[in-house]
């Protein structure tokens, strides 16, 4: 779909809002799940101490984990909604590549990870690479 046809069929801001909804809910899901796993601790050590059942119980008793799953489900349905209204050639690459970048930003802001120059450069390269692959 060329830009003129795209703008005439779906408003630019409506398309941007749909893509933003997918990217933001996906990022929220990833960050909450990562925060949950950090609060649970090293799963390999837990499995060594308490077995596989203990590791599963440790994950399933963490409320943050379910918050992460909830936002991942929201992201999934938001993507289905976006694909119903937008061209796959636009929605697929845009959401896939932007999520890489927003995850790096959210990891630095909310998880206090040290996203140094090496990781930023890698995020930009992978973001552009995923866009080219998905387009």
């Amino acid at each position: 779909m060329n830009l003129a046809a795209f703008l005439s069929n779906t408003g630019f801001w409506a398309a941007a809002a749909m893509i933003a909804a997918v990217v933001l809910s996906s990022t929220a899901g990833e960050v909450l799940t990562a925060a949950a796993m950090k609060s649970v601790g090293d799963l390999d050590e837990i499995r060594a101490h308490s077995g596989l059942k203990g590791a599963i119980v440790a994950v399933l008793t963490c409320p943050l984990f379910f918050a992460g799953i909830f936002f991942m489900a929201v992201a999934f349905f938001a993507l289905l909604f976006a694909l119903n209204h937008l061209n796959l050639g636009l929605a697929g690459p845009a959401t896939a590549s932007l999520t890489v970048f927003t995850n790096a930003v959210a990891a630095k802001l909310f998880l206090r990870e040290n996203v140094d120059r090496r990781r930023w450069t890698s995020a930009v390269l992978i973001c552009i690479g995923v866009y080219f692959l998905a387009h």
Binding site: V40, G41, A104, N114, R119, A123
Partner: protein, 141 residues
């Protein structure tokens, strides 16, 4: 504390994260496109679709992806896991080209090169820059 070097086991977990998701999605897509059109009027048909070989394999691979992804997040940063496992997209592209003999455009080859450069840049770096919770806080005894 930064973990400078991953063990072989941890590297294997990251490889599982990288390849299980794209392969699982590919199996699901292959399985679902080979089925007759499904509608919400016949929900049992959707349930039955989960037991066809390709869809079942796709679901098993995605369960494997999620288990290994959670394991990786418990000892590595989100920004590290996300970037280091982006190489899975390249694996699918290479499989499509060399095994299925699909044509890969110059733009897609450029994507492969950029992702490989990005992963090569981040993978040798520290996998963890924040201290995880002590074992006693999360583990049932």
């Amino acid at each position: 504390m930064a973990h400078q070097k991953l063990s072989l086991y941890q590297t294997m977990i990251l490889i599982l994260v990288a390849i299980c998701a794209p392969l699982g999605n590919t199996c699901l897509a292959k399985g679902m496109t080979s089925l007759p059109e499904l509608t919400l009027a016949h929900p049992l048909a959707l349930f039955a679709a989960a037991f066809t070989p390709w869809v079942a394999l796709g679901i098993a691979l995605l369960i494997g992806f999620f288990a290994s992804y959670l394991t990786a997040l418990s000892w590595a940063d989100l920004s590290y896991v996300m970037l280091a496992t982006a190489w899975g997209n390249v694996v699918v592209e290479l499989l499509a080209h060399f095994c299925l003999h699909e044509q890969v455009s110059c733009q897609r080859w450029l994507g492969v090169v950029l992702i490989t450069l990005g992963v090569g840049l981040v993978a040798p770096g520290p996998s963890q820059t924040v201290q995880p919770a002590p074992l006693s806080s999360g583990a049932p005894r």
